[in-house]
């Protein structure tokens, strides 16, 4: 009980707040959001997206384009292959009839879907030169010769081998062993999809029937010893990327970007833009109202005039025009939002400050010789600031939406990732009319969720701080 009395004001507020269920929900979501921002690398599937890679097309080239989320497989009758990456191959050495001693890197891929992956991509970082002898062993024992590729003049460069583009003729040769004359006459190596050949049951109609052959596939990459023995040739970070038809938690967009990554990376910006802008602008508005009321007279009149000019400006349209003409960075956009949206709480604060300045404790402070600014900051502001917390929380959603709207129009800061920008790309690519819902629903839903979080907090605080609205 004694502790309660000592910092009673906060304790009292917390006791009231605890009873507001929606306020607690808001607090909970906010806590989770802050945790996600702090531990962002743990949640990001693509870690280096924040280093300007969101708009780097080659960074995303191994992904599938416009793939739905992986969990959509639950609702479809034909299961699609999911995008996966294999990082650690099994390494062994064996004897090859043509090349002698070879080092074999093998990846095991358990294929259990109805629709095969779009591509198998082999990637590595290499120096010097390298020779890849690649083959795919199928569950039925047949071997698809994927290809032989020689790389040279490398200096810690990325090497990339895509089955879909680089192994078409080999896959066609494989199909020739089984398919009927008629089927072969109607196709050539440019019309078949290598992955369909590799992942289908063999037979005379294998090019058209495409019956999936499920089981464990083994992709082997052999590197001859004359390459591995030379210490100038380095091969590291060898990995197999299976480019599925469905991908990740939230799918990919038509630029092959992982949407979940964009959502997680956009969270910190939404929180930061929303909180920083509204806290600064509400604080400014509160101080403006207090100063206007405390000084009164000419100061009050002129400050009210300036207030009315700013209150008479429609913020969103002006933001659009400013952003379209000056193409500002996010910092300037935030500055402009502060300059034009501090007006919200001025009038209420001003009228409250008019009452407070007549109170006896202010008189007493004056009599004791306190200066004007000391009275404003030490005596009046501390009483009025708690009321502004609710306004701050309620201003956050609007700010987030303002930024998102600017981004939607294509006026966002291109050096950062925001949810509005994701929606801008979706809108530009006609995602709504093509039914790419996984591109449109999540960003907007998260904007709305962040808005709801702060609305929960703001309304709960408002209810506690304005006792007239209490129903109990």
């Amino acid at each position: 009980m004694s502790a309660k009395k000592s910092n009673s004001r906060f304790q009292e507020f917390w006791d009231d707040f605890r009873r507001e269920k929606s306020g607690l929900i808001g607090l909970g979501i906010l806590a989770v959001a802050i945790l996600v921002v702090i531990f962002e690398p743990l949640f990001l599937p693509y870690k280096d997206v924040n280093e300007g890679n969101w708009r780097n097309i080659s960074y995303w080239e191994d992904n599938s384009s416009a793939a739905p989320p992986a969990w959509t497989n639950i609702f479809t009758s034909k299961k699609s292959a999911v995008s996966t990456t294999f990082n650690s191959p099994e390494v062994s050495t064996e004897e090859d009839p043509n090349y002698g001693l070879v080092t074999t890197y093998s990846f095991k891929y358990n294929y259990k879907y109805d629709l095969p992956p779009l591509d198998l991509i082999i990637r590595a970082k290499a120096s010097g030169m390298s020779l890849f002898l690649m083959e795919l062993e199928r569950p039925d024992g047949n071997i698809v010769p994927v290809g032989e590729q020689f790389f040279e003049g490398l200096n810690e460069d990325q090497i990339r081998f895509s089955m879909d583009t680089d192994a078409a003729s080999n896959a066609y040769e494989f199909a020739r062993q089984f398919a009927s004359e008629e089927a072969l006459a109607n196709s050539d190596s440019t019309t078949i999809r290598p992955t369909f050949v590799a992942f289908s049951e063999t037979g005379s109609d294998m090019l058209s029937a495409r019956v999936p052959l499920k089981g464990t596939y083994t992709l082997r990459i052999r590197v001859p010893s004359f390459i591995t023995d030379d210490s100038n040739n380095v091969l590291e970070d060898l990995r197999l990327i299976v480019t599925g038809r469905v991908s990740g938690i939230l799918g990919t967009d038509t630029y092959k970007r992982d949407i979940f990554t964009g959502i997680v990376a956009g969270l910190k910006w939404a929180l930061f833009i929303g909180l920083a802008t509204s806290v600064v602008s509400v604080l400014f508005g509160v101080m403006y109202g207090i100063i206007s009321a405390y000084f009164g007279g000419f100061v009050d009149t002129s400050m009210q005039f300036v207030y009315q000019i700013f209150a008479g400006i429609p913020v969103m349209p002006l933001l659009i025009v400013l952003a379209a003409i000056f193409k500002p960075s996010i910092w300037i956009i935030m500055g402009v939002m502060i300059v034009f949206s501090w007006t919200g709480s001025v009038m209420t604060v001003r009228s409250m400050a008019f009452q407070i300045k007549e109170e006896t404790f202010v008189e007493a402070a004056k009599a004791l010789g306190s200066g004007k600014w000391r009275i404003i900051f030490k005596h009046i502001a501390p009483i009025l600031l708690p009321y502004s917390f609710a306004s701050m929380a309620l201003a956050v959603p609007g700010t987030i939406v303002y930024e998102a709207s600017l981004s939607l129009l294509g006026l966002g800061d291109p050096t950062i990732i925001t949810w509005g920008q994701i929606l801008h790309d979706a809108q530009n690519s006609g995602a709504t009319l093509n039914g790419l819902w996984w591109w449109i629903v999540p960003p907007g839903l998260f904007i709305a969720l962040m808005g709801a979080t702060f609305a929960f907090l703001g309304f709960a605080m408002d209810k506690i701080l304005n006792p007239k609205l209490r129903t109990r």
Binding site: G312, Q427, V441, G444
Partner: protein
């Protein structure tokens, strides 16, 4: 006197509008002048192509003369403050010259024609939505205030907070996804179908195109309104005279509609109109999602085409609408609350 109060308020609004136009003119001075110079160059190029049988020296001289003439016409040779003031005054009459790319439906290049073509479309959409929102908002708000803390009140208050930060343009995208892509019930955008039907069918066709934009505005609009109304009504219900009215045995309906709503009217109207103004100022770009060719859509096109004169004109008309809304707000408030009229000298 209400007459003088109204006159004063309108004059103050006009003054504010002129002042804002001056600020904008000053703020965007550089870019407007650059556009004007580009437009002059373009015009001279076009005109010089029509000249025939002239020697190069003559052509050069004609060009320089013409350029001088046009620069004088646009007053680009005058000192900066005069240019800013001149353009601000032109801006007050929405005269922003010709657009650089955008044309009106009839093919006009004049910015004034373009924005006044878009204005009625936005007005129709937003006023219809406003009326529907108000009807739903007021009735729901009263219902909520009658049983505060009840199931209905709690559920709707929760939804209010849930949609508080939802961007209207995102809801628009969602509705298109649902009603256009999945259900194929409504067209995805535009004013009318092509070819445009005539007579009564024209009206139906227009309504069909308006359905989704309207639905978006209404679905998001009435929640906040009903919440505000609930709070205002609740505050009044705690007043002493309401308690005495109830004690006198006046029926609850009469207390609610006669006593409460009459007192609640001024703040209620303020809140509702302010909310509507906010939606025009903030949600206007949602028109672009439906390609509803109003002022909001004009922002989209002007931004994409980088058409500065149209952008300035659009900003001017939105500011005028905003100021007009504020005037209407104060006038209604003064009309409903007799204490305001005398200018606070009660």
């Amino acid at each position: 006197m209400y007459k003088w109060f109204a006159l004063k308020r309108i004059l103050r609004g006009l003054f504010m509008f002129v002042l804002l136009m001056f600020i904008f003119s000053w703020l965007f001075n550089q870019v407007t002048e650059k556009t004007q110079r580009d437009q002059i160059d373009e015009r001279i190029k076009q005109e010089s192509m029509r000249l025939k049988n002239v020697r190069p020296e003559q052509m050069l001289e004609w060009r320089l003369n013409r350029e001088d003439q046009l620069i004088k016409l646009y007053r680009l040779d005058r000192p900066m403050m005069e240019r800013v003031l001149y353009r601000a005054l032109r801006g007050v009459t929405f005269d922003f010259g010709d657009s650089t790319v955008i044309k009106s439906g009839k093919g006009e290049r004049e910015v004034r024609a373009i924005i006044f073509e878009a204005l009625p479309r936005t007005m129709v959409l937003f006023t219809t939505a406003a009326v529907i929102q108000m009807l739903i908002g007021i009735s729901l708000g009263l219902k909520k205030a009658q049983k505060p803390g009840g199931k209905l009140d709690k559920a709707t208050s929760f939804t209010t907070m849930l949609v508080f930060g939802m961007p209207s343009w995102w809801l628009a995208m969602m509705l298109i996804l649902l009603f256009v892509y999945v259900l194929k019930l409504f067209p995805s955008g535009g004013l009318n179908s092509v070819p445009t039907p005539e007579g009564f069918m024209f009206f139906l066709d227009r309504l069909k195109h308006m359905a989704l934009p309207l639905l978006t505005l209404v679905l998001l609009g009435f929640w906040g309104m009903s919440f505000t109304i609930r709070n205002i009504v609740l505050t009044i219900l705690q007043e002493d005279y309401i308690m005495s009215a109830r004690a006198r045995g006046i029926p609850e309906r009469k207390v609610l509609f006669g006593h409460t709503l009459r007192t609640a009217a001024p703040p209620l109207v303020t809140m509702v109109l302010l909310g509507l103004l906010g939606s025009i100022g903030g949600a206007i770009i949602f028109e672009g999602i439906f390609s509803w060719p109003g002022l909001g859509n004009l922002y989209w096109i002007a931004v994409q085409q980088n058409d500065i004169p149209v952008l300035m004109g659009d900003l001017a008309i939105t500011t005028a609408l905003w100021q007009g809304g504020l005037i209407v707000l104060d006038l209604t408030y003064g009309f409903l609350d007799p204490r305001i009229k005398v200018g606070g000298k009660a």
